[in-house]
């Protein structure tokens, strides 16, 4: 299984066609198998992330909270009951051995991924250990202690004016939404089960505050939603978001508890339906950070993130799972995909249509909203030129445009832009632009994506998903007896 990631190869073309056409955006590849075979050589890296230090975590979190996390151990927690309560640690968020280094590691992975994207080293960075979206500034929540997503986004904001956060975990991405609720530089979009469900937030009417008004999108869904229904919302909404918000980078939280058969979740998405979100977001060719998240039926989490790693790399994995150490967990079918159940889809079409049109309406208000950043740029020549570039680039993200355009002419266009840019800008900015252009061009024309896979400790790329979940379970079982 590991070879899926570490070796180079092509995939059987016939496997791809069905899913590819279903999106509004085509992946950067031709339709004939031969070309694709050449196209999908890639250069994945597997990185052991640098552990985040206290001061790194404090870029978002409160100092006392971080100090508390660093100090707490299962042995000492009885002495700090008040602190435990204050920071909401102890129930959903148990104290376990190595808690702090766990936080440091996954946060380091996500921030490291963001840096990779910033530097243009990678087009897609993955940290399946990250995505702990419930953590608040001064509080743990829902098994999330440190919000690696917020930290990663803050890192991306150093390089990008606007960053988009998308959350397909079944739970509302409340921690991230709250952190960026009042800013227009980050748009958060969350698709989640709403109503009598943790964490209780995520009302469609929560739209942001102050300059951040209309920069928080919430898509409340109900039990049993299937692929088709999900994407009848996901694609139009995300298409519109990309068109209007024009983010410089996208962070996608891929919580796998929205899959069918999840132990805590109640959606009915197939792995392909889930991965279609990755495919769709990838198709915009914007630097993409993929993060993990929830997921409580372990083998399906492994299936899902394995498949989505393949999606990130542009490889379609065969359904027949090759033998590997944890093969028996996937019996008796030993298949990568699992059929969704026949559970009732409680989402009524009229309601979904209402939600969609409401959200699209909110989005359209952004176009004319005074807080749209383009109009507030400081009168700096260098920056004005940057504006034009942005506008040009933005056009390419238009889904429809993207779909119809001939790839060759597009690549010519990219190159000529790049050439124009050369004599315009100051040295530093030029360098920056340089690397960006390279990235985009590469992505588009050669379809050669560099993918960085951040790993936690000694976990392998694929099997470790199980291991990681085991660790989670182990932690839980560690704490039950107390």
């Amino acid at each position: 299984m590991l070879k899926v990631l570490v070796s180079i190869g092509a995939f059987p073309p016939h496997l791809r066609l069905d899913m590819m056409e279903s999106g509004g955006n085509s992946l950067p590849s031709g339709s004939d198998g031969v070309k694709r075979k050449i196209s999908y050589f890639y250069d994945p890296e597997v990185i052991k992330p640098t552990a985040a230090k206290d001061r790194d975590l404090c870029k978002f979190h409160a100092d006392d909270y971080v100090a508390f996390l660093r100090g707490i151990t299962p042995e000492t927690q009885q002495d700090q009951l008040r602190q435990l309560k204050r920071f909401n640690v102890g129930e959903d968020c148990p104290v376990f051995d190595g808690l702090y280094s766990f936080c440091q590691t996954y946060a380091g992975g996500s921030v490291g991924g963001a840096v990779k994207l910033n530097q243009g080293v990678s087009d897609i960075a993955i940290n399946w250990a990250g995505g702990l979206h419930h953590a608040k500034k001064c509080e743990a929540s829902g098994f999330c202690y440190v919000n690696d997503i917020v930290l990663a986004i803050l890192e991306l904001l150093k390089m990008h004016e606007r960053v988009l956060y998308v959350d397909i975990d079944i739970h509302h991405g409340d921690g991230v939404e709250e952190a960026f609720y009042a800013t227009d530089r980050v748009m958060t979009v969350s698709f989640h089960k709403f109503g009598d469900y943790f964490p209780g937030t995520g009302d469609v009417r929560d739209i942001g505050y102050g300059t951040g008004k209309y920069y928080s999108l919430n898509v409340p869904l109900d039990d049993g939603i299937d692929d088709e229904t999900y994407h009848s919302l996901f694609k139009p909404i995300m298409g519109k978001v990309m068109e209007i918000f024009k983010p410089g980078a996208v962070v996608l939280q891929c919580g796998a508890d929205s899959l069918s058969g999840d132990r805590l979740g109640c959606f009915n998405l197939s792995i392909k339906g889930h991965a279609e979100c990755v495919k769709y977001m990838r198709s915009f060719n914007v630097p993409l950070l993929l993060l993990g998240g929830g997921g409580y039926t372990i083998r399906n989490v492994a299936r899902c993130w394995c498949y989505e790693t393949g999606v990130a790399l542009g490889i379609e994995l065969d359904d027949k799972m090759p033998q590997h150490e944890y093969y028996e967990y996937f019996g008796p079918d030993y298949a990568l995909h699992v059929a969704p159940s026949n559970m009732e889809n409680k989402n009524s079409r009229p309601l979904l249509d209402d939600i969609r049109s409401k959200l699209l309406e909110n989005l359209s208000r952004l176009q004319h909203a005074p807080s749209v950043p383009f109009q507030e740029r400081p009168p700096n020549t260098e920056l004005q030129e940057r504006d034009e570039d942005d506008d040009d680039r933005d056009e390419r993200w238009d889904p429809d445009f993207d779909m119809d355009v001939d790839r060759n002419s597009l690549s010519g266009r990219v190159k000529s832009e790049y050439a124009e840019a050369e004599h315009k800008d100051s040295e530093s900015y030029h360098n920056h632009l340089d690397s960006r252009r390279d990235t985009v061009t590469t992505f588009k024309d050669i379809a050669c994506s560099k993918v960085t896979v951040s790993r936690v400790d000694s976990m392998a790329v694929d099997e470790p998903f199980i291991k990681e979940e085991q660790d989670k379970l182990a932690e839980l079982s560690d704490h039950r007896p107390r």
Partner: protein
């Protein structure tokens, strides 16, 4: 509750511990066994008792203690109460589950009654309406009688308590809260209230839950609504008085309804509370309510309590409401995995009644009327959602302020370099040695349709192919293979175990079958004092479970729902994974579902 399915009287436990000097003292002096004995559970149950106590009651103890000590750690206290409410909620949910399982609901509900009575006491005090309180108390009795659970002594206790509370009521306003707290501790030990000079006011409101006939126009609607958490955002300026009065009015309303459906058994409990920020100034806000009624063939009640508090950090326009009442994984903290796993589904499938409440009577009435209308439509959910989701203000506010939002700098147009330390250490591809990728074309390919093994798909066949692939992978990865600990996954873990140890492990698991809701980990940890928890858990998932699954895959494939983790906790029928790998006869069997069958999925 303690693994023996014996209901535990939390109140009694609390009092026993209190006699001993409280949680801390008991912990420090190792008195848990004694507590267990005194309670009547027999000897050597100390750790279980401690677990139960610390899980459900220690939170309760703390605020009481601090009240007695004259401390006023406001925020913490509030949090404690919120947590306590949550615990009660969980607790009640657990008991409810018990109910489903058994015809005899009596025993399990005892403690719930106890808890509810405590809350009733709270309500009584706060309700400022003795008559109503009395009526409510009567209903409590009715209920208990009706359930034939009446315990004369308990009722007397409750009477005494309510009397004491009423006496307290006649005292001075400021002192009331303080005294109440003491009274509670003395009589029943429940959450106290406090009111300090700065003007911090907190209020317990009361929530109600009713098991009502479906024919009740307002509450009998089927369908558990989403968005029914009510919180009125309009009346910023409402003060405590208004809150109280609206609560009272609400109560009257409820009462009338009850009378109109006198056949029905009704029930009440819950608290919500207000706090306000001590720094900026007091601006008490209404509470948020959320109650789920639950009906069955019997009248049954589940209380959900949600607590909310509002803060004013900065600015004047924004209300901040943070609520903590919902748990993410309630089932993860319960011991009986099987039963609790279905908690969510049960609640949902039960067509429970959900009554959204707000401290503002106006919003409540508005809601009620819309509920009534919608009952004629097909589902509460739909109409509520379509009417309210898009057109009314959101129910839960996102807290604002420097304690909540990240600091996002203005975009200046200049980019900041990231610290290069974040680039981490590249583990693969190896920088020194050029990786030998042997089989580039195989990426993403599945297993081959057939192999030359004697019995395709047998355990031995699978083992052979795994070994084959491991060898290849090792070659490709070089040192990375070891850096990632790939040499320590799967059945390789057995290398560190002796056959005796493996047998011991198996026996311990076997003696704690999931069918009895017993968890084996405690015993495992005890049985292997020299092995780290990590290595034990490692063994379980890498070897034990794997082998059991291998057996199941080949022998009982129809009984495995591969989407259901519960299957891993089902009774083992005396067959364990070890036998799978060690018994030669088993390896001769092919899986029922042949691996060679063409796969249609994914194409």
């Amino acid at each position: 509750m303690l693994g023996s399915e014996q209901p535990l009287d939390l109140y009694k436990l609390f009092m026993v511990v209190k006699d001993k000097g409280g949680y801390d003292v008991v912990c420090k002096n190792g008195l848990w066994d004694l507590v267990g004995e005194e309670y009547g559970l027999g000897v050597n149950v100390g750790s279980s008792v401690e677990l139960v106590y610390s899980k459900y009651l220690s939170t309760l103890e703390m605020p009481l203690k601090s009240v007695v000590d004259g401390e006023f750690p406001k925020c913490d206290l509030v949090d404690d109460r919120v947590k306590f409410g949550e615990r009660l909620m969980e607790l009640q949910a657990e008991f409810l589950l018990d109910d489903y399982g058994e015809e005899d609901v009596g025993g399990g509900l005892k403690s719930v009654h106890e808890c509810r009575r405590k809350f009733c006491g709270t309500n009584r005090v706060k309700g400022m309406n003795p008559e109503l309180n009395a009526a409510e108390l009567e209903r409590v009795y009715d209920y208990i009688d009706g359930r034939k659970l009446c315990d004369a002594n308990r009722v007397k206790d409750a009477n005494l308590e309510s009397n004491a509370v009423k006496k307290v009521k006649s005292g001075g306003v400021v002192d009331v809260c303080m005294q109440e707290s003491r009274t509670y501790e003395i009589s029943l030990g429940k959450l106290g209230k406090q009111n300090d000079a700065v003007g911090i006011m907190e209020e317990f409101d009361e929530g109600k839950i009713k098991a009502v006939d479906v024919s009740d126009a307002v509450n009998g609607m089927p369908g558990l609504s989403d968005g029914s958490k009510m919180c009125d955002n309009d009346d910023d300026d409402d003060l405590l008085i208004l809150d109280t009065s609206s609560v009272n009015r609400e109560r009257f309303g409820r009462k009338r309804k009850r009378e109109s459906i006198s056949e029905m058994l009704s029930w009440v409990t819950s608290t919500a509370k207000n706090i306000c920020d001590p720094v900026v100034g007091s601006m008490p806000e209404k509470s948020k309510w959320k109650s789920y009624g639950k009906e069955e063939t019997w009248k049954k009640v589940l209380l959900f309590r949600e607590a909310a508090f509002l803060k004013r950090d900065f600015g004047s326009d924004c209300e901040k409401l943070s609520w903590l009442a919902q748990k993410m994984h309630p089932c993860m903290y319960d011991d009986s995995l099987g039963a609790n796993y279905n908690l969510r589904q049960r609640i949902k499938s039960d067509n429970g009644v959900l009554v959204g409440k707000s401290a503002s009577i106006f919003s409540r009435l508005r809601r009620t009327s819309s509920d009534t209308e919608s009952s004629t439509k097909k589902k509460l959910r739909d109409s509520c959602a379509s009417e309210s989701i898009l057109d009314t203000p959101p129910t839960v506010n996102i807290p604002l302020g420097p304690n909540h939002q990240a600091e996002v700098p203005e975009w200046t147009g200049t980019t900041h370099e990231s610290d290069s330390k974040w680039l981490g250490t590249q583990v693969w591809p190896l920088k020194t040695v050029k990786s030998r990728l042997l089989d580039r074309d195989s990426v993403g390919n599945g297993r081959r349709d057939s192999c030359k093994c004697r019995v395709q798909g047998s355990v031995e066949c699978v083992r052979f192919h795994i070994a084959e692939r491991r060898a290849k992978l090792k070659l490709e990865l070089g040192v990375a293979f070891y850096q990632w600990s790939l040499d320590k996954i799967g059945e390789e873990v057995r290398r560190w175990w002796t056959p005796q140890e493996e047998k011991k492990f198996k026996d311990v698991v076997k003696s704690n079958p999931a069918s009895l809701d017993r968890r084996f980990w405690d015993d495992i940890f005890k049985a292997f004092p020299k092995k780290s928890r990590e290595s034990l858990v490692n063994y379980y998932f890498n070897v034990f479970l794997l082998q059991r699954r291998a057996y199941q895959n080949r022998h009982t494939p129809d009984n495995i729902d591969s989407d259901d983790d519960e299957s891993e906790f089902t009774p083992l029928k005396g067959v364990f994974g070890h036998q799978t790998s060690k018994s030669p006869s088993i390896t001769l069997l092919s899986p029922k579902k042949q691996q060679t069958k063409p796969q249609s999925k994914g194409r």
